[in-house]
Symmetry: C2
């Protein structure tokens, strides 16, 4: 897996997530309910609500880039209470991700990384990226999407991928 | 992104998905309901039910490997009606994925691929993998997981990643 391209893809997906939240606000206005009610929505009582799915998606992307580039991640305290604040959190994370360059990840795939939750152990960079970071990241953004869909927000797979139609992928 | 490692990760996640379905059966037995009721569960009336999330996750993995290795994917008609049949579908897909070797994907990232749904257009292999196949794959397996969680099945993030504890990642 190419680290830089994957970090760029995280940024692309977070921009999509921002648009899903925007669609959530539009849906709330159309149905005349408080958009911030969505912030607390969840799919199971013992699963994270939307707010924490968004925070966790952002943090997974941010710390993955930081660990693999051996840089410090900017702090983002989990204080968001509204969709507007969540969208600002996403923007801050995207700005951090978009500042990376290919060279920042030189040697990252062979280097070992030791995230704090590994309790002093370490994992090789490429395995960390493919087997831990990518599934974790998509777990949180997909669950955020699912919470919005479950609550009636009008979204589809093209919104998830971030294209107007499938043939648009040819522009990549 | 390294194609072979990503296809291996698809296989790993499908084996995890198989275990989530197994947990769904155990939960149904414990609560005394028909496990196959879960097959039709969905998070929104206009989103795929569990059966089609599993089929689509398998197909995304299968066709990604086939397109990038320039091989033919085996046909798997969407006829499953039970958890047992879905688990067999997963096994068939995993067997196909696990037969690939690193050399099968030589040049795959630079080659252009033209999946039928791109309507005659094509996308470079690495972009197809990172921007289309990986998000689509995780979309379906995460939504399958979310459907099971929403219906009360006892699962957590470690089950999603497929480790007993986070320090286990060090074994990679």
């Amino acid at each position: 897996m190419r680290t830089f391209e994957t970090v760029s893809q995280f940024s692309r997906m977070l921009k999509n997530l921002d648009q899903w939240l925007h669609a959530g606000v539009a849906y709330a206005q159309k149905r005349n309910f408080d958009p911030d009610a969505l912030v607390h929505a969840r799919l199971a009582p013992d699963q994270y609500a939307l707010v924490r799915q968004v925070q966790s998606g952002c943090d997974t992307a941010k710390f993955t880039a930081a660990y693999l580039a051996e840089q410090q991640a900017p702090p983002h305290p989990d204080t968001e209470k509204t969709i507007t604040e969540l969208r600002a959190r996403i923007q801050a994370c995207v700005a951090f991700l978009d500042a990376f360059k290919v060279a920042d990840f030189g040697g990252a795939e062979e280097r070992r990384v030791a995230p704090p939750w590994m309790q002093g152990k370490s994992v090789r960079g490429d395995h960390y990226l493919i087997r831990v970071a990518v599934p974790n990241f998509y777990f949180h953004v997909t669950t955020a999407y699912a919470i919005l869909r479950h609550n009636g927000v009008d979204l589809g797979k093209l919104d998830f991928i971030g294209v107007r139609n499938w043939a648009d992928c040819a522009e990549w």
